[in-house]
Symmetry: C2
Subunit: 319 residues, 2 copies
Amino acid sequence: MIDPALRIGVVGATGAVGRVTLQCLVDRGYTNIRAFASWRSAGGTLGTLEVEEATTQTLGAGDLDVCFFSIGTQLSRDLVPIAQAGGAVCIDKSSAFRLEDGVPLVVPEVNGERALEHTGIIANPNCCTIPLTMVLAPLRDAAGLRNVRVATYQSVSGAGADAIADLRAEDPDDHLLRMDWEFDGVEFDEEAKLRAETRKILELPDLPVSATCVRVPVVVGHAESVWIETQTPLTPPEAERILAQAPGLRLEKVPGHGHAIGSDDVLVGRVRADSAAENGLVLFLVCDNLRKGAALNAIQISELLVGASLPSYFGQTAS
Amino acid sequence: MIDPALRIGVVGATGAVGRVTLQCLVDRGYTNIRAFASWRSAGGTLGTLEVEEATTQTLGAGDLDVCFFSIGTQLSRDLVPIAQAGGAVCIDKSSAFRLEDGVPLVVPEVNGERALEHTGIIANPNCCTIPLTMVLAPLRDAAGLRNVRVATYQSVSGAGADAIADLRAEDPDDHLLRMDWEFDGVEFDEEAKLRAETRKILELPDLPVSATCVRVPVVVGHAESVWIETQTPLTPPEAERILAQAPGLRLEKVPGHGHAIGSDDVLVGRVRADSAAENGLVLFLVCDNLRKGAALNAIQISELLVGASLPSYFGQTAS
């Protein structure tokens, strides 16, 4: 359910996620879209859109209903409150606000109702958290979750447009696995995010989530090898039936990375028993990290608001 | 301890592992090396070596002390017994003989003494099994193993020279994760091998080993994210001390893929507690799959035999 006339701003429009956000918005029928970026990109065009500079004036003018931000954590801290003060509902893809009390962290298929509690900012989870929670939520509902272990295979587009350009220019013999996140001596911030966000979204504040994150030399598509222990037993066929019925998931015997690219679905499969645990399951998932892992999820969040409320709902939330 | 005059055959010499085998042998000072391949490659040269056709006559003539095979499972089944009958100790890198009773499956640092029990064939484990068992063995000795979960990141060179050529020719935008192994509806043969071989090498026939194998678009280097539950507790610093002292391992805070390529060591690190288990550890390893994962391990096996026995030891094992 969309309102095509919604006044939408896309901030960080020239980045990897920003471009996909614009494309997804156009594909879904929105017509009233403006593109914002830093002064370096301002004045250029993206398709038929002129790129405007993101400033206090342009974002705070009060003429935007919803604003999507994919500009990195520090810039989001600066610019999101400006657009919020101007009356836009801000859907932020950085980690700036995700764990803040009072800011809903939303995967529509998992905790969409939380979006309605916003006070002007809704956070979009990390690109690995989104597909993981979509798989975990129906299993939580069916059998309870005891713990989760996850190894990620994350594409370079998760690190931005420059990382894509670097990979394209690289000799294949120089391709390496990378762990290009901040390291605190024990784990990467990416791994801590995955745990903290999963706990918040699933509303299981003590759920053990043990993650190892790895960047792989592919352009698009994040995959995860996941081990799940449930409170009560689930056979693999039972788990498959549950996952097949869950919204936004597509069950494949062996989820194909190539099938995930450009798709709105999270592909999940390879569901089998984990011989190492009493109530253990192993599975594999892959999704388009720029779409469901980022741009699409954010757009779906905005559509929850329209679907749940008056056309003027966005305006009501102006601070 | 090497015998430089050892009469060595390398069968499958033009393949990805064969070429590295030749290089490692030359690097280690061996001088009496012959290269064998199929009729398609026979007559060509590899450096200063003429490539001979691998036939009943050439391999069975009785003029080889040790013969390294990296030619695939079916061809190994055909050709290894011929060289064995000719009196060579055959060190085979395929899966043809690995699980056969009476055939030692050897990682020198883990179960080198088993090599001496051979009757003409010694099997070299899978390229993922070798580094995994090197990490698990010292932890088994210190604290016992309850179970193991592993997600692999395997380079295309593990799939052979053609797979390397394909990756080099590929547009980076077409790079994908792949699971290019035989699938029985539950798991890949690669995953079953990793479990069965780990159990045999560690002599823990019931050890639960739950593996998810994934091929990544890198040329060389296999990595593994590993979760280990031990019988008795080990703190991460204790585990690090144990791993740092174990032969063939090099401890790095964050094991670097680039550091592993061309190295004889298995790099291990990122050792931390697994919050999901009472006695749980998480770690990450990476190694050069063509060297320690294949060619080097096989050569080290042959050197165990020379070190442990008379110069004529090889001849004694002719069937």
